[in-house]
Symmetry: C2
Subunit: 429 residues, 2 copies
C-alpha cells in the first residue's frame, strides 16, 4: 500500500491533537483513504519540552526544512498560527510541490487568493476548512454542496469568545468587564483579548466566507468592524423586550454588483437560529437562491473540534493523491465585487437615548429623525430616575441609510433635552 | 473544452428544476468544473405534456436507453423516485459505466450498499446527497469533513411533513387530523400521507444516515418505527410545561458493538437546536468524539432546495471526471454492527394516565413502576373532570429499559384505579 507522508508545523493545542489522532487512528484512515497516511515529522521550537499525548521524540525537529522540503512529505499541515512565519512556510511548501492543510484564518484571509493561485500553478491542493468555524463543516459545503446557488447572504457567529461574553451579559445581566473576566478565567478569552472583542478574528473569517460565497477576493481591511466593548446589559434587556437577542455578527451580502461585509453587534430576532446560539458555539447562516436558508452549527474553537477538521482535510487530500488524478484547489474567485462603503449600508437601527423627562422630548427627537428620512417602527420610553427627571427612550427604526443615521446621532446629541445617544446598534434579519 | 454529458431520468418537480438550472447556468458551471457540463437528454413518460421552464423538446425521449446507454452521456441523474424502475435504471447506468446522481432515498436505503459496490467495481461515482435533508449538505460533511471522528449519535428531523403537522399541533393546539388537513391544503402532505406520518420516509433517511455515520449497512426494515397519528395536543402542552417539545425524531446511536436505529415521536428539551426546528424545516444533529456537537439545518423538501443538491452532486462528479483521476465512490461500510432490538433500548419516558381521582392512586402507580425498576423524575397531576372524578397524571421517568416499560404499561392498564395509559412517549436528549 502506498504511503502518504504528513509533516506538521507546530505542536500546540491543535497540533498535539492532530498528531495524536493521526498516530492513533492510522489503520482506520488507511482503509478510508486507500493508502497509508503516516505522520513523518513535526516542527517544534523546543525539542526538550515535555509533550502530552506521547508523540514519539524521533518525529520532532526544529528545522523547518525537514518538513517543508522532506522528500517523504506529501502534505504539510500548518498549525503555527499568526501571519509569520506561517505564511512563508506555506509558500515554501507549496513551491516545493507539497499539498498544504491549514487552520490559519489570518494567512488565508490576507493571502489566500495568492496562495491558492500558486497552489493551482504547482498542481497541489490547499485546504483550510478549519480556518472558519473550527469543527463546523462550512467552507467545503459552501464550495461543493451549495455550488449551484447564487449566494445572497452569509450571516455568522464565528467568534466563540465574544459569543460567550454576550451570552453571559444577556442571561446574567453582567457588565461587559465582568463577563470578560469570567471568559478569561475559563480559558475562553486570552489575557489580551483584542483580536476577539474588537472583531478582528471575526473579520478574518468573514473575509474568507464572503470570498468563497460571492466568488470575489475580499480583503479583511475592507471589512467594517465594531467590537463589543461598549455594549451594556440594559441593551440586552430592551432588545429582549422588543423580541431580539444581541450578537456579534459577521455579515456578508451580495447585491450582484457590490457586496456588504461588516462585523458588528446586531439585534437578531429571537426566533432565528442565530439568536439561539449560546456560549462558545458558532453558527453560519447561508442563503442561496436555490437552497433557501441553511444553517451550520457547532463548536467554533478548541483543539479537539479543530483537529476533527484538520485531519479531515488531510484525509481528503490523501484520498485525492491516492486516486491519482490532477489535483487542483478550488479557486473560483472570478468576480471582482467591491465592498460597499459603510455609509451606504441600509439597515434598521436600535437607538437608546438618555433624555430629560420633559414634555415634547419625543416630538423633538421624532422631528430630527424625520428630517433625515428615518422612520420609527417602535418606541419604548421608561422613567429612569425620578429625582433627576431623566428618562430612557429606546427607538427601533425602519430601514435607513447609515450616513443619515450618523448625521442624526450628531444632531440628537446637540439637542438640549437629549443627554446623550447612549447606544446605537444595528438590526439584522 | 471537454464536454461532460448529463442525462436526466424524470421531469417532475425536482427534474424540471434540475434541467432548468443546468441549462441556464451552464457557462458558470463550465468555469467551476473546468469542462462544459451539458444536459443532453431527458427521459419523460409523455412527450406531448406541456412543460414549464422551457426545456427544449429535442432533449426529451421516452426510451430509457437513450439516457442509460447514450454514448454522449457521462452522468445519469435519476429523479423518478420510488423503488422501480428507478433501481433497475441506476443498475443499468452503472453497469454501462455511467456515473449516477440520485435523490432517491428508498433505493439508496434499500440497495445503496450493493449499488455502491457495483459502482466501485465499474470505477464510477454514485452520489445521493439529496436523498437525506434535500437542500441540507449532510452526507458529504458526514463522510468527508467529519471523517476523522468516531460518530456516536445522529439525531434528526428529516421529514418536513410531520414536522409541519407537529408544529401546528404545538403552537395552535390543533388535533392531529386538522393539522394534517392544513398540511395537505398547503401541499406539504400528500393525499395519501402514509409514508410521512408513519415514519417510513424518515426510516429510509435514517438507514442512510446510520450506515454512513457508523460504517455499517443498516436495512430500513431493521429500524423501529412509530408514527405521529396517536399524538394529542395536550401532550404538547404538558411536554412544554416540563420543558420539552415533541418532535418526530430519527435516532441513531452507536455503542461500539451494536447500534440503535429508531424513528418515533420524542420529547426533546426546549433548549436544544432540534426543539427549535419548526415547520417544514429539517435538521440533523451529529455527535463525534473530536468535533462534539454539530447541527445542519435547512429546507428538507421541495424542487428548488433538492435541485441545489442534485446539481452540486453533478458538478462534483463532473469536476472529478475533468481532473481525470480514478473515480471511486465513498464506500466505507466496513463494519457489521447489528441493530439493537427495541426491547433493549434504554431511554427516559413520558407517561400520561387517566386515573380515578381517589386517594392512593399515585402510590399504586409508583409501586408498579418501582416493581419494574422504573424510577420517576417528575410528576404532574391535574384534575380533569370534577364530576366524573377523573384526573390526569403525567410522569417523567429516569432512564429505563423499554422491555420493562412495556410490561409496566400492561400492569398499569390492569389497575382498577387507572382508566388507561393514554400516552407513552420516549424522551431524547
Amino acid at each position: 500500500m502506498r504511503e502518504i507522508g504528513v509533516g506538521l508545523l507546530g505542536l500546540g493545542v491543535v497540533g498535539s491533537e492532530v498528531a495524536h489522532v493521526l498516530l492513533t487512528r492510522a489503520p482506520r484512515f488507511s482503509e478510508q483513504v486507500g493508502a497509508s497516511v503516516a505522520l513523518k515529522r513535526v516542527l517544534v521550537r523546543d525539542l526538550t519540552k515535555q509533550r502530552s499525548h506521547g508523540i514519539p521524540r524521533e518525529l520532532l525537529t526544529t528545522n523547518p526544512d525537514d518538513v517543508l522540503a522532506g522528500p517523504d512529505i506529501d502534505i504539510v499541515v500548518e498549525l503555527i498560527g499568526g501571519e509569520q512565519p506561517a505564511h512563508e512556510f506555506m509558500q515554501k511548501a507549496i513551491s516545493r510541490g507539497k499539498h498544504v492543510v491549514t487552520a490559519n484564518k489570518e494567512v488565508i484571509a490576507k493571502n489566500g487568493f495568492r496562495l491558492l493561485t500558486l497552489a493551482a500553478q504547482k498542481g497541489v491542493d490547499l485546504r483550510y476548512e478549519a480556518s472558519v468555524g473550527s469543527g463546523i463543516p462550512i467552507l467545503s459545503p459552501l464550495q461543493q454542496d451549495l455550488a449551484a446557488n447564487e449566494i445572497s447572504i452569509v450571516r455568522a457567529i464565528v467568534n466563540g469568545t465574544t459569543n460567550y461574553i454576550l451570552t453571559r451579559m444577556a442571561t446574567e445581566d453582567l457588565p461587559y468587564e465582568d463577563a470578560l473576566k469570567q471568559a478569561q478565567q475559563l480559558g475562553y478569552a486570552e489575557s489580551d483579548p483584542t483580536n476577539d472583542i474588537e472583531g478582528i478574528d471575526a473579520a478574518y473569517k468573514l473575509a474568507i466566507l464572503t470570498s468563497l460565497a460571492f466568488h470575489t477576493p475580499v480583503k479583511p481591511s475592507s471589512i467594517y468592524r465594531e467590537g463589543i466593548t461598549s455594549l451594556q446589559p440594559k441593551d440586552f434587556k430592551y432588545a429582549a423586550e422588543l423580541g431580539y437577542a444581541v450578537k456579534l455578527l459577521a455579515i456578508g451580502k451580495s447585491s450582484g454588483d457590490r457586496i456588504e461585509a461588516r462585523v458588528h453587534p446586531a439585534l437578531t430576532p429571537l426566533d432565528t437560529q442565530l439568536a439561539k446560539v449560546d456560549g462558545v458555539y458558532n453558527a453560519i447562516h447561508v442563503e442561496g437562491d436555490l437552497v433557501g436558508t441553511t444553517v451550520f452549527f457547532g463548536r467554533g474553537a478548541g483543539g479537539s473540534p479543530t483537529s476533527s477538521t484538520v485531519v479531515a482535510d488531510v484525509l481528503t487530500t490523501a484520498r485525492s493523491i491516492a486516486l491519482g488524478g490532477i489535483i487542483r484547489p478550488r479557486l473560483e474567485l472570478n468576480r471582482r465585487l467591491p465592498v460597499m462603503p459603510m455609509d451606504d449600508v441600509v439597515t434598521r437601527y436600535y437607538f437608546r437615548l438618555s433624555v430629560k423627562d420633559q414634555p415634547g422630548v419625543l416630538a423633538q427627537i421624532s422631528r430630527v429623525l424625520g428630517d433625515h428620512r428615518i422612520s420609527i417602527s417602535s418606541v419604548i420610553q421608561k422613567e429612569l430616575n425620578a429625582e433627576a427627571q431623566t428618562a430612557i427612550i429606546v427607538i427601533m427604526t425602519h430601514p435607513s441609510v447609515e450616513r443619515n443615521v450618523r448625521t442624526t446621532v450628531a444632531e440628537l446629541n446637540a439637542l438640549p433635552l437629549v443627554e446623550e445617544v447612549s447606544a446605537l446598534i444595528r438590526v439584522e434579519h
